[in-house]
């Protein structure tokens, strides 16, 4: 594609350059604060809820997410919003209320470290290595996609875009570690909102309002549940049972409660209550994101008749096409900055998660055990450099497979689904044994891959429906194997499990606090809003 979508002017470049100055500035300001490993990898466990909460959301709000969800909105309609409602909110609340206490109170520094304490070294190693590989692959894919987008949008060459973006992330994460990543994510959160918010407003205004817009779309585009009784009646080809079990239960819980990329943000919180409130606080904003990405997708579906059709623009360009339509110079710079920001938050999130796991769960555990703190910060910085260089490599690999993103997401969810089963058993069934956990995890992952190879792609209504059901089966395999093996192996003693399982841990009590500080009350409010939205968009 030789045609460039935007012609950025001087004022647009000024806005973009200023953003980079601030991003790198944050890195330099934080550099001198990075004295201990806790500072670098855990932000000194000192962050207030609003910062960790927004970072929690922002780490997940990568460019692929923005463009991909707008694209899905244009293709499937409001149905896409399930990813933000039932596919996220219950899981985030579960993480805050029930799982964060184990994570935070045991003072672990990574998700694999919990697996080591609860199960054994082998389970941890399996998880740490698999997670590192996945994270770097995903980070490379987002790097490539962003490079591609900027090539189409403003005409930078692919290599320029990739190298430039990689160097910026390298500088600010390398200097300021997790704190820098979190601070930037919060800034990115606001930039994404303020950079894209005019689009749904202007778009709905141009189309004459919400109802007028829906009148011009297929009927199933306006409903969350109404057309899900029969999979053939909605654009996604999925039934309500598939949505609830596959997306709402296994995929969502697997991702939000065990993926270190997001959980790590909670670890940086200043106390247990702030850690618990991190995902709960994030739910309120999460439920608002569809307004920012899916509504523009719907608007694009009305305005651009040939979108997604042969000869027309790809669905992925739904959001950029609207920016081009509405944004004058100046605001265009802000819109492009928002997209750059979302890309960088996604990539920096992957890199910080990789760095912590590599340094703590691979380097410190198997290569060099008792080095001073300074040594591990140095290793962490090198891990960032190496992680980013490998990401650049995987970015070019991603470039040679046009549909690799689909496969990656599929594989990624395979891995999280069995992991979630192992966490669930580990935390709530004290009889689960060390080897039960290991074999459950391994067989779940292997089972998922076997299923993926054995079942033909067209067996399910759509790739999404296939993901939902496969994830559920992988989860079930891990559960059954872990329970089975546990009956034949020796359980851990009560002393070993202190603080690691629900039965032997202290339950935090917040009854003396005002309501708006209590995780339970905030969760209840969030769930009520969730139900109201689902009824409204039924």
């Amino acid at each position: 594609m030789d045609k460039v979508l935007f012609h950025a002017g001087v004022v647009d470049y000024l806005v973009i350059i200023l953003y980079f100055v601030f991003v790198i500035g944050i890195g330099f300001l934080l550099k001198n604060h990075m004295k201990s490993g806790d500072d670098f990898f855990l932000s000194g466990r000192s962050m207030p809820t609003w910062i960790t909460g927004l970072a929690f959301l922002s780490a997940n709000l990568g460019a692929l997410e923005l463009l991909g969800m707008a694209a899905n909105g244009a293709e499937y309609g409001i149905l896409t919003a399930h990813f933000y409602f039932i596919g996220a909110i219950p899981a985030m609340i579960f993480l805050g209320l029930y799982m964060m206490p184990f994570y935070y109170a045991t003072k672990i520094r990574s998700v694999p470290e919990y697996l080591k304490l609860r199960y054994n070294e082998a389970t941890r190693a399996l998880n740490a290595v698999a997670f590192s590989v996945m994270t770097i692959l995903v980070s490379g894919i987002s790097l490539y996609s962003m490079g591609l987008i900027f090539k189409v949008l403003i005409g930078w060459s692919l290599t320029t875009s990739i190298l430039f973006s990689a160097v910026i992330v390298l500088i600010y994460v390398g200097l300021g570690g997790l704190t820098s990543s979190i601070y930037n994510e919060v800034l990115q959160f606001f930039l994404i909102w303020f950079g894209l918010l005019p689009i749904p407003f202007i778009g709905l205004h141009e189309l004459g309002g919400w109802d007028k817009m829906l009148e011009r779309l297929p009927d199933s585009f306006g409903h969350l549940w109404q057309n899900t009784a029969d999979p053939s009646q909605n654009a996604m080809g999925i039934s309500w049972l598939g949505i609830v079990l596959g997306l709402g239960f296994v995929l969502a819980f697997g991702y939000w409660t065990t993926d270190f990329l997001v959980v790590q943000r909670g670890f940086a919180a200043k106390n247990l209550r702030a850690a618990q409130n991190t995902p709960i606080f994030a739910t309120f904003f999460k439920m608002a994101v569809p307004f920012l990405v899916i509504i523009p997708g719907l608007i694009a579906a009305v305005l651009f008749h040939n979108i997604g059709k042969p000869g027309g623009p790809s669905y992925n360009l739904a959001l950029p096409l609207l920016i081009q339509r509405y944004y004058p110079p100046g605001l265009l710079g802000l819109g492009l900055t928002a997209m750059l920001a979302s890309f960088m938050s996604g990539m920096a999130g992957n890199i910080t998660a990789f760095t912590s796991i590599f340094t703590y769960d691979i380097y410190q555990s198997y290569i060099k055990k008792d080095a001073p703190d300074k040594h591990y910060i140095l290793v962490g910085r090198w891990a960032i450099v190496i992680g980013i260089i490998v990401s650049i490599g995987t970015a070019y690999i991603a470039g040679s497979f046009p549909s690799v993103m689909d496969y990656m997401q599929t594989l990624f969810s395979f891995f999280n689904a069995p992991l979630f089963a192992i966490f669930l058993l580990g935390m709530f069934w004290k009889r689960t044994t060390a080897w039960g956990g290991f074999w459950g995890l391994l067989s779940g992952v292997v089972g998922a891959i076997v299923l993926y190879i054995a079942i033909p792609a067209d067996f399910y209504g759509s790739a999404q429906a296939g993901n939902f059901w496969r994830a559920f089966i992988a989860w079930a395999i891990a559960m059954v194997v872990a329970i089975g093996v546990s009956f034949f192996t020796k359980p851990k003693s009560k002393e070993e499990l202190q603080g690691l399982v629900y039965a032997y841990s202290e339950k935090p009590n917040y009854k003396h606090l005002s309501w708006y500080k209590r995780p339970g009350v905030l969760s209840a409010i969030s769930l009520v809003i969730l139900v109201v939205i689902n009824i409204w968009l039924w």
Binding site: L18, I26, L30, H33, K35, L187, I202
Partner: protein, 74 residues
């Protein structure tokens, strides 16, 4: 006694600063250059720039009015 926690610089000042500057640039550009788009009838740069400016100034004001102190709760 819990160990003293690290205090980093106040993030609200950075956010406030970014949005104040962006607000000034974009609303200023809207005011003086007033670029037009076919599908937009009002001066979007000016209005949205002002929104950014107000947001930025609010964050700055908040950070000076209530300085960030790490208080150990509970």
């Amino acid at each position: 006694m819990k160990p003293k926690k690290q205090t980093y610089f106040d993030l609200r000042k950075v956010i406030g600063g970014v949005f104040t500057i962006y607000g000034l640039i974009i609303s200023g550009y809207g005011l003086f250059a007033a670029p037009v788009k076919t599908h937009i009838h009002s001066n979007l740069n000016l209005w949205w720039g002002l929104v950014l400016l107000i947001f930025g100034l609010a964050f700055l004001a908040l950070s000076f009015w209530k300085p960030a102190i790490i208080v150990e709760e509970e």
